[in-house]
Amino acid sequence: MKMKSLVLVATLLAAPVAAQEVKVGIAAEPYPPFASPDASGNWVGWEVEIIGAVCTAAELNCVVTPVGWDGIIPSLVSGQIDAIMASMTITEERMQTIDFSNKYYNTPTVVVGAKGVDMAPTAEGLAGKIIGVQVSTIHEAYVNKHFAATAAEVKTYQTQDEANQDLVAGRIDAIQADSIALDAFLASEAGAACCEMKGVVADDREVLGQGVGVGLRKGEEELKAKFNAGIDKIRADGTYDTITAKYFASSIYGD
């Protein structure tokens, strides 16, 4: 009996190494058009396809694993997942805990507000306004650093959808997020009716980071090299552009 369980333990330990199974964590909260569940519960979107393409190019056996956004870094550190591909921006603060691959996309950060209300994506332009952002994002950090002093209030939401909903309801005056996420919102019926683009915020690399990369545990250089090679390969062979063209009008790789 003892012998058997030892063998079992050995198999369990050996199995993941042999198969090179990589659990890629995505945020369990829908973030269209990057990742959201379709009617039958399958995850679809630009980022989900990119995960597939990168993993194929890097010859990794990836398993997409949804994890709650606010616990995604602890899940990576504790080993429940092996990589994060959830539109997570590379920032100095996150680099203290985890490591990142090279970026795989980078989009500008914009402010959207109610139509007809006078505002601009600056500290003065948002003075006295209530701003909504998704928690634990670079946008929350940016708003807290640049706008919180003059704004009436900064409200945080578990999902971008909830922030959008409250903007439609008039409970908040403005939202700040990634341009692509907000373009999709402005294209929706509710978004088009209530709100408009107020402009791109001034860059702040320290907070807004250096684009979106694959989050990895520190010291996993081999896996990091594989992801970097995978990203380079799909960029070079056109797979990246093919997938991008399906979702966006222009390239989102950034400068």
Binding site: D70, V135, Y157, Q158, A169, R171
Partner: protein, 256 residues
Amino acid sequence: MRGIWEPHRLVLAAIGAGLVIWCAVSLRWDWIPQYAGEMAQGVWRTIWLLVLSVAIGMTLAIPLGLAQAAGPWWLAAPARAFCTVVRGTPLLLQIWLLYYGLGTLFPQYPWIRNSDLWPILRQAWPYALLALSLSYAGYEGEVMRGAFKSVPPGQLEAARAMGVPRFTLFRRIWLPQAVQRVLPTLGGETVLQMKATPLVATITVVEIYEVASQVRRELLITYEPLLLLAAVYMALAGVIVLIFRWLENRVPQKRA
């Protein structure tokens, strides 16, 4: 009193103290000063949400209970329907229906959006308070129904025979005895109500649970803020239990 010093209790107490000391020494607590202000504000928000919702809920529960216990059918039926619906649906759903449902209907009417009430109506706490109050009213309305029915009818008949006015009868005889009978139940229900308050964090009300979540997100630590949160809720529950024990002892009662 001797019972406290029995060996097995001493051992258990030592294990408990050891756990607390281990937590205090080996976990990370250096973030507490940084977040102290927000935590104090969060605890305060939890407390006033709880106190106000219990007060409003109880004020509603008494007529709800009375209507079901002694009212005509056209009062009893809606009261019963209200209690059944509130008790039969999740509180989270009620909170979301009020905030994302009712709350998003208001701004469609310009006269509401331009009124003096809008700065209050656009905030989240009125919906949180309303949902918590209605929920408490629903549960306690049912409790009060039983309480009113359990007061011996002979007392009420005797009072009526003596010519006691209806409202005085209710205020001096019926209500005090009904409340007295269900105080232990109400104490437990209030603790449950306290434990329901974290749900309002889902509609952007920053109470103590949300502050703990903030700490978790910003410092990427899990156990420390949650353990502290547990300690805060335990302390609050302790205070509630003490208040209700004091209320129970205040009214002298004849024991059979």
